[in-house]
Symmetry: none
Subunit: 139 residues, 2 copies
């Protein structure tokens, strides 16, 4: 699901994703740096709370928990779509995800990600290779 960024730096969020958002009655989007990938994750506030709960389950003094907390709170901003369901691709998004003029949308249930197209395929190819090697080993 790849879309072009227009001259004003906007991308229209595919209607499939917008449908999910409206069904969940989400108007304000929390846009943050993904925990493991060079991608931007976009979710409603309640998903944010879920992440926080998960972090709270761990050791509050662990490096892991603190890093994640930092990513969530320090690495995110609130945004909203314009009347036509478009999102402004800010420098925050461009820099972290390496996006220039194309964005690939990846839905993940109740939230979705923005990827630089080739970065996504690279990561997917890498994962496929790993899976292949695994199955070879188990032969």
């Amino acid at each position: 699901m790849t879309k072009k960024v227009d001259a004003k730096g906007r991308v229209s969020v595919p209607s499939a994703f917008r449908t999910v958002l409206t069904r969940l009655d989400i108007r304000d989007l929390y846009v943050f740096q993904d925990f493991v990938f060079p991608a931007i994750s976009i979710a409603g506030p309640e998903v944010l709370e879920r992440f926080e709960r998960h972090i709270d389950q761990g050791d509050p003094f662990s490096m892991e928990a603190n890093k994640m907390s930092l990513l969530i709170h320090g690495g995110g901003v609130f945004m909203k779509l314009d009347g036509e369901g478009r999102l402004v691709v800010s420098d925050f998004i461009r820099d972290f995800a390496g996006i220039t003029d194309q964005v690939t949308f990846v839905g993940r249930g109740d939230y979705f990600q923005l990827w630089e197209p080739s970065a996504l395929t690279r990561m997917q190819d890498e994962t496929r290779r790993e899976r292949m090697e695994q199955s070879v080993r188990s032969t």
Copy 2:
């Protein structure tokens, strides 16, 4: 079972495959990139759910689980057939399977695949050759 893509980019799914789908009462199709072959696999939504359940068993923040999620969610879309049982061959399908104007259908029990015709024969030849070499070694 090779079919041509029409001027509008559609292929009619052979009735044999559609029969299977209707028998399983599948209206929405989960169309995803095959894990091992350069082909598109098409199945019902329950296949995606099975994948998701498998992922949910692990740590949602682990690299492992996230990579699998990326493969599943980033490599699959939902589609449905038109009134005459045709499927639009989107860029998503074309790019991954290398399909241009012809599609070969391969049934695999409860799901089926879309192949670029020559890619399928190449893969079959390769497999045949490997089997030959195996039998020679074991002689």
